[in-house]
């Protein structure tokens, strides 16, 4: 599963309760009211567990996390990849 697809699936299942039509990859989670204060923590936990990263407090900003595309770009930078589409969810590559 591609990174964007994995993220879409997580956001749709967790925050939109399966409503796929309600999310474009550029939609702002805040402006669309997709994620509330607990939701951010769920998202961070998901990213840390799935991609084996640690998100610092200074990185916990909407610039990094407020849409599917922003998260893809952020993870690219964080994981040192140039092209977001090549990054896959760790659990997709190595199923537990």
């Amino acid at each position: 599963m591609s990174l964007a697809a994995d993220l879409r699936s997580f956001v749709i299942n967790n925050f939109l309760l399966g409503r796929e039509e309600a999310l474009n990859d550029d939609d702002s989670f805040l402006e669309q009211g997709i994620i509330d204060s607990t939701g951010i923590l769920e998202l961070v936990a998901h990213l840390e567990e799935t991609y084996g990263i640690e998100i610092t407090e200074s990185e916990l900003v909407p610039d990094n996390l407020d849409s599917i595309n922003r998260i893809v770009a952020y993870l690219d930078r964080k994981l040192g990849h140039g092209d977001g589409t090549t990054v896959a969810a760790a659990n997709a590559v190595c199923p537990a």
Partner: protein
């Protein structure tokens, strides 16, 4: 405390006494001590009685000696002794010692304006034989409920909606607009309810039905001073005045021919009321509380401390996750509207405890948070406003983290996210609902669970706009603090706190709550106070604390306010519950049609997986389940019958 109902035929004929008996029969929990029906000409009045004052003489419906005025009354008029004395001096003769008869004579003397003289909590209907007029009134703050509807040939009213549904011609259908308001504010905007065609008489309103015309009129409003007034009185003088008022409000609320107990939550408000009652009664008071198995919600330590300090004889009922799930269907049968938190459920257990101990009247501390600046939402708005004046400030938002020490979702947020969640943009600051925007916008997100068809029907609705349209012109001139207070006192208080959590949960077990903080003299005093007397910097209920100093344990006076909360969504998945599985199943959701089956399924899966759930998820789960229960118990009952019902003990009594 009682249940009332009635029928007025609009085009000739007389009401069927059996229908009246069926209607009042659904309200037996409100009045288990007796019932009565009066039927004559176009009118029928019915009454279910909980005897509290004048146990022998207070039977209803009651009439004046000349049988020209008839009344069915639910509530208490606490100043009835003084009013009775005054009426006797004017030549009135009384045949009972009841407050009911005082209303009749006062109406005789002053007509519809008589309600201005009443200090109490009431919903009553008077039939004026000479004028062929029905006069219905509800108390100022909305402690007691009254609903009404119309059929092809009759006007019907009752204390609870279930009594209206006992009339064969009343349609049982959800009002989606009412549902939309619940899923925004937690309450409907009166007169709307969540049932089509069923209205509630708003607090502080009277209704007159005469010559087939209905006239509804407001007789009282809470007037806040628009800005911080130049207050001449010192803080010391104000706190003395407040204490004297509260003492008198409590004194007249101890008037009863049966013993009066008190709720003791462990917080400031109920402890103050218990302390005042303790001073007035002289003998040992009986107090009651609910404690929680889950320590996150429990206040038992403070309850025991208050009880010990005031030397009360205390009883406690423990509430577990399982209890909440088990009693929830019964709770919704009484709230008669969807709720988004399970918080009313422990109140149901509490009133049951009171009743089991032989008490039917309790004093409670409700109203202090609304009137004296106690809610966190007031503090939150003040901090947000402070931050909004300098949105770049790094430390101002830290005050929000201090406000919610128990909320992980707030503690771990960055500056940028806090700013977004707490709405501190220029546009937000200019909103008439600035204080309530975070809460209402979060709640409105629950509508994503509605089905495509429901959403299509509600496409044009804007609940915030509907509320804005009904606010009085004076609201615009209020300061931010008073606006927030107004919204809480005029809307959430009657629409949720006093109804779903108050009257309904107490009356479910035939218990009457009495609220000294909601004495209209106390409320009017509070509304004239400068906001700084209510919240001094960030000290909530500042003046009340000054007034209570020395009367209650200092640990309770100084403790950080803990909002009353109960376990929410988790309760329903802690152990298996057949009704939960049934009502939330995709098939059932599809048949009932209000919600989206896939979305509800995903929500249920999230709870069952044990993953973290947000405040929104919890409100959504409780909101969907309570709506489904409402459909099951009220809308579907007739068509489906009890054979398909998974709530046998509840269905048997629901109609």
């Amino acid at each position: 405390m009682c249940g009332i109902s009635g029928i007025v035929k609009l085009h000739g004929g007389s009401p069927d006494p059996q229908t009246l008996r069926d209607m009042i029969g659904t309200l037996a929990h409100r009045g288990p001590d007796g019932s009565g029906v009066y039927c004559r000409g176009p009118v029928g009045l019915a009454h279910a009685r909980l005897s509290i004052i004048d146990l022998e003489g207070g039977r209803q419906p009651m009439s004046t000696a000349d049988r020209k005025l008839w009344i069915s009354f639910n509530g208490e008029i606490f100043n009835y002794i003084e009013l009775r004395q005054e009426l006797i001096q004017k030549g009135h003769t009384f045949t009972t010692r009841s407050d009911t008869e005082v209303i009749l004579h006062l109406y005789q003397e002053e007509g519809e304006e008589c309600v201005q003289r009443l200090n109490g909590q009431w919903a009553f209907a008077i039939w004026d034989v000479d004028q062929q007029k029905l006069f219905v009134s509800r108390d100022r703050l909305g402690v007691r409920p009254v609903f009404y509807t119309q059929t092809s040939d009759s006007f019907l009213f009752a204390s609870e909606i279930k009594a209206l549904f006992a009339h064969p011609e009343v349609e049982r259908a959800l009002d989606l607009k009412g549902l939309d308001q619940i899923f925004t504010f937690w309450f409907t905007l009166a007169p709307r309810t969540v049932f089509k065609g069923v209205c509630q008489l708003p607090p502080a309103h009277s209704l007159v039905l005469q010559n087939g015309q209905i006239r509804v009129r407001r007789y009282w409003n809470l007037e806040y001073d628009p800005i911080e007034p130049p207050f001449a009185a010192s803080e010391k003088k104000l706190s003395e005045d407040l204490l004297n008022l509260l003492l008198d409000a409590t004194r007249i609320r101890l008037r009863s021919d049966v013993p009066v107990g008190a709720y003791l939550s462990g917080g400031l408000d109920s402890t103050v009321i218990t302390a005042l009652a303790h001073m007035l009664v002289g003998s040992r008071l009986r107090t009651f509380s609910v404690s929680f198995e889950d320590r996150e919600f429990d206040e038992g330590v403070y309850q025991r401390e208050a009880s010990s300090f005031l030397n009360t004889q205390h009883s406690d009922v423990s509430c577990s996750y399982r209890d909440i799930a088990e009693i929830f269907p019964e709770v919704i049968r009484h709230t008669e509207q969807p709720i988004l938190r399970t918080a009313p459920a422990p109140f149901f257990l509490l009133s049951k405890l009171v009743r089991e101990n032989g008490f039917k009247v309790v004093l409670t501390g409700e109203g202090a948070d609304e009137m004296f600046g106690g809610y966190d939402i007031f503090k939150e708005a003040k901090i947000r406003q402070f931050w909004g004046r300098n949105t770049a400030s790094r430390w101002r938002p830290l005050l929000l983290k201090r406000l919610y020490p128990y909320m992980d979702g707030i503690q771990k947020q960055s500056h940028a996210y806090l700013k977004s969640f707490f709405h501190v943009s220029e546009q937000d600051l200019a909103s008439p609902f600035f204080s309530h925007l975070p809460r209402w916008e979060l709640t409105a997100k629950l509508k994503m669970l509605l089905s495509r068809a429901t959403r299509a029907e509600l496409r044009e609705r804007d609940a915030l706009h509907e509320l804005e349209n009904e606010l009085p012109a004076s609201y615009q001139s209020l300061g931010a603090f008073s606006r927030a207070e107004y919204l809480e006192a005029m809307y959430l208080l009657p629409g949720y706190i006093l109804s779903s959590q108050g009257d309904r949960m107490a009356m479910a077990n035939s218990v009457e709550g009495r609220y000294p903080f909601l004495d209209f003299r106390v409320v009017e005093f509070a509304a004239k106070l400068p906001p700084s007397m209510k919240m001094k910097v960030l000290d909530q209920k500042h003046l009340l604390k000054q007034a209570a100093s020395g009367m209650i344990p200092s640990s309770i006076l100084r403790r950080h306010k803990q909002p009353y909360r109960a376990p929410d969504g988790k309760s329903f998945f802690h152990s298996p519950n057949a009704y939960v599985d049934d009502l939330l199943s995709p098939d059932r959701i599809r048949v009932d049609g209000i919600f989206d089956a896939a979305a509800v399924n995903a929500l249920v899966a999230k709870f069952k997986s044990g993953r973290t759930t947000s405040a929104k998820d919890n409100m959504a789960l409780v909101g969907v389940l309570s709506t489904q229960l409402l459909i099951e118990q009220f809308v579907d009952y007739q068509s489906k019958g009890s054979s398909q019902c998974h709530l046998p003990q509840i269905c048997a009594a629901s109609s």
